[in-house]
Amino acid sequence: MNQPPYISGSTSVSVIMLKVLLALVPGIVAYVWIFGSGVLVSLLLASVTALVSEAVMLRLRNRPIMPFLMDGSALVTAWLLALALPPLAPWWLIVVGTLFAIVIAKQLYGGLGYNPFNPAMIGYAVLLISFPAIMTQWPAPLALAHAQLGFMDQVHYIFGRMLPDGVGLDAISSATPLDYLKTQLKLQHGVAEIWQAPVFGTLGGKGGEIVVGAYLLGGLYLLQQRIISWHVPTAFLLALAAMSAIFHLIDPVHYAGATFHLFSGASMLCAFFIATDPISGPTTPKGKLVFAAGIGILTWLIRTYGGYPDGVAFAVLLMNICVPLIDAYTQPRVFGHEK
């Protein structure tokens, strides 16, 4: 016998996760177009690793396997991680990162719904700390690269670190715009001058800005589908923009402007896909604003003053720690109660 309410107007966790994956597709297409199809290999590697490790862990924890494999959350984690890593990262880096995300950050904390930290960002942070050199080695967008790698060349590189004869690492890689900006600023160049370098495009990094735009598109789809609410993207982007704009206004020589920060690095991915993870984020509307604004500010701080070029992962993890506190202090007024 059923219990009230007898009817349900909800989707399911699987549908939500599926829509998130769908919303990532424009970004992936743009990615392939700009950086080549090697990213598809990373996505596949991460997906398989995530599903297998999730199944094994569920088995070890004596949980039903199928319902949890089908919920799609492992795939979302895998895709986010794969998209956050450098496109031609070696295969083991992807596997290790995914294992960390799924086994440690998710399953050991109790599986779906229980992880206090964003699993993909844990995976990313662990890799960044352990393998900083590889993690900051980004291939140049195809349009800028001195040598073009075909799909098979990219596969060879991912699995064997082998490049075709006559092609050096320099020919295919370049500093990311965030990285480039940082090192050039250290060399006492001004922002306007640095901006003349070929790695920069109209809004952010050349090529990269197109991928970022595609993420934005996917994010708008998630908003329209009500998979995410407006609070997190808006607060994150506004905070990041405000920080960069204010400092750029005060000292335009040493601080890049708002557009650059919004359209570089993982900003858009974070705004719509990473910071919006419900499980490791706060639940109250006000809490979401505080949380996302915190990530925005921290991201800017780490990018500007920290040791790493992009700050999204650490910013998210730091704010994850604050979630219980944020939730506790942002409880909305209950009907019929004073504040």
């Binding site: 009230p4 309410p5 349900s8 719904g113 984020g281 639940t283 209950v334 009907f335």
Partner: protein
């Protein structure tokens, strides 16, 4: 007259499914061969039985009389013979049987002589008191005795009377049909109730999915000498919840720890005010009501049903259930409950019977963990954080659940309705609430026992002291010379006795066991008021 509406937080839009039961006018059907009248069709004390097996009774005759302050009378819905008085299953979520009067109709449907009351020229107090014998209770489903809601309350009195015609639950259309067909009687009922309460303003709230009801109510109100506002509110479940409706129509948020009457507002369902009117104007006590029969039946619709009619007979009148029926729900699909059997009968609280089938109400998929998506919080009309309440209830962290205002939850089911993890959230809240209430009761009992024990110890001590005192007195009589020594002792004894008395005085008022009946009644009344407060919250 368009005045401002005040939106409440949350709410959901379940499919309405109201068309199928509104295609035909309200129907009636032959009186069934047997009526089973539960004594408890209302909230409050069990009424006192006034008949015995074998008695012949007339339609409208009093079968059981209201007992204590919160109680409602039960009348014979038709003439016939009392077959027996025994325990029978009743329509209650608990599925437990309760005392019922079994009546075998004689087919004549002969009325007792009806005494009408000229309410326009009678004393209000007297009118309200006379409602005690009317058997009228809240017909919106809460079944709270109406005469209590009409008693003068609060210092400031009632200023706004709200008539609930929102009927926000899917499938249910009994109020809709009543407003369409009997608007004039409802409006007369409103006039009576408004007069009894002395309310300056009256607003009828109707959801905008009932345009016919709204226009027929508007017409009827325009014929009335009193100014009654008819307000159409957006269709949004649970706008029919009393507190939500009050807020919607007046902007007043009834404080959580108060009743609506404390802020000068009282709410009645459309069918209830009509029943009040029929009692005064025609001398007819509450013996029947309109019930929607919907869902998996051949011929859904609304029926005028005598109380005590077995659900079986009612379903038959609706053409019978279709073969794949696997559930019978009383109330709506959001807050209703499954009936223990089709043999239970229609009571004053029965607004709707839905025959359910797997295709209508599929088994929910297995619950997944909460993903903290906060969809439930967005949907909660009380602006609670259902995901936190769920977490606290699940981990038996009841104190926290209470801190997060578990008792403001109206069990509307909006949260469960939207939860993508299909967690039966309302069941967790019910569990937590009942656990807390049980614990509170146990604590009260323990406190009482402790106090009694302390009292007993104090008494023993006092008696010992008194004996010692007597002893000392005797001794003092014998040896008068050593009085100085004894004075100190006496003072000590007197102090001890004083202490004991003080202790006794402190304990006594809370000791409710051997109190005179008057005091016990008072306590019962307080309990009843408390019950009323919680009940009113649930009225929708």
């Amino acid at each position: 007259m368009i005045s401002k509406l005040f939106k409440f937080h949350g709410g959901v839009h379940p499919p309405e499914n109201k068309l199928e039961s509104t295609s035909e006018p309200i129907r009636s059907f032959p009186i069934p061969p047997r009526l089973v009248l539960p004594l408890r069709q209302h909230v409050g004390n069990l009424p006192k039985i006034r008949v015995q097996a074998g008695d012949h009774v007339l339609k409208g005759q009093l079968l059981a009389e209201a007992e204590g302050s919160v109680s409602a009378a039960v009348h014979a819905p038709t003439s016939g013979v009392i077959v027996s008085i025994e325990e029978q299953p009743i329509p209650h979520p608990s599925g437990l049987p309760d005392v019922c009067i079994l009546l075998q109709p004689d087919g004549e449907d002969r009325w007792l002589e009806r005494k009408t009351i000229d309410w326009r020229h009678a004393d209000r107090r007297m009118l309200v008191a006379s409602l005690r014998d009317s058997g009228v209770v809240g017909m919106g489903g809460a079944a709270f005795p109406t005469q209590i809601k009409l008693r003068p309350s609060g210092e400031s009195g009632i200023h706004v009377l709200i008539i609930n015609g929102a009927e926000c639950e899917p499938y249910i259309t009994c109020d809709d049909m009543l407003m369409r067909e009997r608007a004039d009687e409802i409006v007369k009922g409103i006039e009576v109730v408004q007069y009894l309460l002395g309310a300056e303003r009256c607003i009828v709230g109707i959801e905008d999915n009932k345009p016919y009801a709204a226009s027929s109510m508007r017409e009827a109100c325009s014929r009335s000498a009193t100014a009654i506002e008819v307000e159409v509110v957006p269709t949004l479940y649970p706008s029919g919840d009393a507190r939500r409706l009050i807020h919607l129509l007046t902007g007043i948020e009834v404080p959580s720890d108060k009743r609506s009457t404390d802020v000068g507002v009282q709410v009645f369902n459309v069918a209830t005010v009509m029943a009040v009117y029929r009692y005064f104007e025609h001398g007819e006590p509450a013996i029947s009501r309109i019930v929607t029969v919907a869902g998996n039946v051949r011929n859904p619709g609304n029926f005028e049903v005598p109380f005590g009619t077995p659900i079986d007979n009612l379903l038959e009148a609706a053409g019978g259930v279709l073969p794949d029926t696997n559930d019978l729900i009383m109330g709506g699909p959001m807050m209703g409950f499954s009936l223990p059997s089709p043999q239970v009968s229609v009571t004053k609280a029965t607004n709707c019977i839905i025959a359910g089938a797997p295709k209508m109400f599929p088994e929910p998929p297995p619950a997944m963990p909460c993903i903290r998506c906060a969809r439930c919080a967005d949907a909660c009309p009380a602006n609670l954080q259902p995901q936190e309440l769920y977490w606290f209830s699940k981990s038996d962290n009841f104190e926290k659940a209470r801190d997060y205002h578990l008792f403001d939850c109206i069990e509307c089911g909006c949260c469960s309705y939207v939860c993508p993890s299909h967690i039966p959230l309302v069941q967790y809240y019910r569990y937590a609430k009942s656990e807390i209430l049980v614990a509170d009761k146990a604590k009260q009992a323990a406190d009482l026992a402790r106090e009694r024990n302390e009292f007993r110890l104090a008494r023993i001590e006092r008696e010992k002291q008194e004996r010692a005192a007597k002893h000392a007195q005797k001794a003092a009589g014998a040896k008068t010379e050593t009085a100085g020594d004894d004075d100190a002792k006496k003072a000590a004894i007197a102090a001890a006795m004083e202490r004991a008395r003080a202790q006794k005085a402190e304990v006594a008022p809370q000791n409710t066991t051997d109190l005179p009946p008057a005091v016990q009644n008072e306590i019962a009344e307080i309990d009843a008021r408390r019950a009323e407060a919680t009940q009113e919250k649930q009225e929708s």
